[in-house]
């Protein structure tokens, strides 16, 4: 990638004796949207917090515009955070209940542009409110007077007021109703088109991630197990964990939807999938074994092996490295090449 904005290298985060992030590497380009998916406990939010240095990683570097955020002094970090904003999952809990909406959105301006007079600040706040689809006459109201979707718009307005270069969205649509989710996703698309910022979009909702992202990172127990351009990931997922995640997405089945269904059964399976890896089989093999052995970290080998229907003896002894198996498509699996070349998996 040419215009690298964020570069995460060998990042490790420990909570006491628990390794929560175990060597994460990825780059994010200016203007790019990268989706980050994985189950709860996989370390998605911890990764976001480590990038923002809201917690101190044990090891590694997070370079934002060439500057290592983990090593730079506090004053420098503060200055950099102007370009690095975040929106959290719970829209109401992330707003100060005692500040009006106007004060909340104006606060970043007060901190980073102290020279701005009150009138100019108000104009910016009002313009921002309009951009996120709220009315400027709402500035005097308090968070409890708004619905969840509106609070999320306020959180986005607060993050966008400084025109950040990178916006981290941590499960921002998960707590919203289905009819409101689309409004927030569209808002994000519009803002990105206008402002050109990069987005790290963390979500467990694969359909939304697919809709928004240029590239997708798949995380399992603190490691990235697959990185791919969005289309490639959904069309031909390589890591068995990614395949299990995709197979588990509940769908309105074609037979239930009658003749008007936009989906034919064949479209549900990745086109390249060999018969024994079709989602139906995945659902019973990969997904079923998942619950029998909940994710746990093992001393050696591939962390996914006890949930994986394709594990080999080598998976117990050696930890697969994240390798580029197709242009821009990286996977950490000993059997990547067999998955890419389905015929060899049948033997």
């Amino acid at each position: 990638m040419t215009n690298t904005l964020l570069s995460v290298r060998d990042l490790h985060v420990d909570f006491g004796a628990h390794a929560v992030i175990r060597g994460v590497n990825f780059d994010l380009s200016a203007g790019e949207t990268v989706g980050l998916v994985g189950e709860s406990g996989s370390g998605k939010s911890t990764l976001a917090r480590a990038i923002l240095r809201l917690l101190q990683p044990a090891q590694g570097s997070v370079e934002f515009l060439g500057l290592d955020l983990l090593k730079c002094p506090q004053a420098e970090l503060r200055a950099q955070r102007r370009g690095l904003q975040v929106v959290f999952q719970d829209p109401l809990a992330s707003l100060d209940p005692r500040m009006t909406v106007g004060e909340t959105i104006a606060e970043p301006l007060k901190i980073f542009e102290p020279g701005l007079n009150a009138g100019a600040r108000l104009r910016q706040v009002n313009a921002m409110l309009e951009r996120v689809g709220l009315s400027p006459d709402m500035t005097g109201r308090y968070p409890h007077e708004f619905s969840g979707g509106q609070c999320q718009r306020i959180g986005i307005a607060r993050a966008m007021i400084l025109s950040p270069k990178l916006l981290i969205c941590d499960e921002i649509v998960s707590s919203l109703d289905m009819s409101i989710q689309g409004q927030i996703v569209n808002l994000l698309l519009d803002l990105q088109r206008a402002a050109g910022m990069a987005v790290l979009f963390i979500s467990h909702n694969l359909a939304v991630v697919r809709h928004l992202s240029h590239r997708v990172l798949v995380m399992y127990l603190g490691k990235l197990v697959e990185i791919a351009p969005c289309d490639a990931l959904f069309a031909s997922p390589i890591h068995p964990y990614t395949r299990a995640l995709l197979a588990a997405v509940p769908r309105i089945a074609p037979h239930a939807a009658g003749a008007a269904s936009p989906q034919a059964p064949g479209e549900l399976s990745p086109p390249q999938a060999p018969p024994e890896l079709a989602p139906a089989v995945l659902a019973s093999a990969e997904v079923a074994s998942a619950e029998v052995s909940p994710p746990r970290l093992m001393a050696s080998g591939c962390a996914f092996r006890d949930r994986c229907p394709h594990a080999l003896p080598v998976c117990e002894t050696s930890n697969p490295a994240l390798l580029e198996v197709a242009p821009g498509h990286w996977a950490a699996c000993h059997r990547s090449h067999e998955t890419l070349n389905p015929l060899s998996l049948r033997q």
């Binding site: 109703d177 009819s179 989710q181 689309g182 569209n186 809709h211 509940p250 009658g258 479209e267 619950e291």
Partner: protein, 321 residues
């Protein structure tokens, strides 16, 4: 044939200092023996409160009117001992959060056995061994060891399996599952849906599946009721509902689901506006302000739910298939 559950003109109103909120606004519905009925709606639509009323679990400030009959017996008017004979045995419920619906300081074995000791007057020893067998039937690995464990020692999916086992102990005729997979990861969710499907065919009970997620309900339900602002706005056979929705709200909601095979980086179809706040005056159709088909009549006159028992819609201008 007597329906397993029959709700007639149910209203639930919550009073508070500054006024009252009509959470359920005249809901009538039936659940036939062995039928799986899905209830979908957004937060605040009243979908949970209908069944909390049936279970006698409403908050203290709730006022209830109407009728809820379970296997022909009225549940709303009965005293606690009568209600207690039914709920937990013939009529059971699975909640969203399996951690808070299990008692943290009792072992899984004690909590499961207690149900049979209380309802079937079974000796503890027999109850415990039956509990172990029930855990096996819901595919909990190492069921004997689980009996001695506490809820916090189990994963979320495993706890939900324990809750499902508990709901089945006395061979219920109706299980109400309220967002049973919402707190779970997508891979675990797929397994729990699969398990519910399996126990339904094995035990033959009726199942009410409450969810905000149409796709979750689609996998299990024979018939689906869509709720909006405290009312049922559409009632249809599952395939019909997804293929030919008749209420504009159902149709718009279906469009809002991001399609995992759809166009990328395009704008998602949305439903403009917000659901009405509970307590707002509802002389008119509550969906009218957000409805693409709304006409003057919709803003004055409230549409009633009309049609046959498997195809009902509350709309002045329903979509035709």
């Amino acid at each position: 044939m007597t329906p397993t559950l029959s709700v007639e003109r149910l209203r639930v109103r919550f009073s508070h200092r500054t006024g009252s909120i009509e959470a359920v606004d005249g809901v009538s519905l039936q659940v036939a023996p062995s039928e799986c009925v899905g209830i979908v709606g957004e937060s605040g639509s009243g979908k949970t409160q209908v069944f909390m009323a049936a279970m006698g679990l409403l908050a203290g400030n709730a006022q209830v009117s109407g009728s809820v009959r379970f296997e022909g017996d009225e549940l709303l008017a009965v005293d606690a001992p009568t209600l207690n004979r039914v709920r937990g045995s013939r009529l059971t419920m699975i909640f969203q959060d399996p951690m808070t619906s299990l008692t943290p300081h009792l072992t899984i074995g004690t909590q499961l056995a207690e149900v049979m000791v209380a309802h079937l007057a079974m000796p503890w020893r027999d109850a415990r061994s039956l509990a172990g067998r029930m855990l096996e039937r819901v595919h909990v690995p190492e069921p004997k060891r689980r009996l001695g464990q506490y809820p916090h020692e189990l994963s979320g999916g495993m706890r939900q399996r324990v809750m499902i086992a508990m709901s089945l102990l006395c061979e219920p005729s109706l299980v109400i599952a309220d967002e049973p997979t919402t707190a779970l990861d997508v891979t675990i969710q797929a397994q729990i849906i699969e398990l519910l499907r399996a126990v339904r065919s094995e035990f033959g009970m009726a199942l009410v599946l409450i969810s905000h997620d149409l796709a979750v309900v689609a996998g299990l339900a024979d018939r689906i009721l869509v709720m909006y602002a405290g009312r049922v706005v559409e009632n249809a056979i599952a395939g019909e509902l997804f293929g030919h929705p008749r209420h504009p709200y159902t149709a718009e909601l279906l469009k809002c689901i991001p399609d995992i095979n759809g166009a990328r980086l395009a704008r998602l179809p949305t439903l403009a506006g917000q659901p009405p706040r509970p307590g707002e005056v509802r002389e008119a159709c509550p969906f009218a302000p957000r409805c693409p088909r709304a006409a003057d009549r919709c803003r004055i006159e409230r549409p009633e739910l009309t049609g046959s028992s498997t195809s009902q819609v509350a709309c002045h201008f329903p979509l035709t298939s």
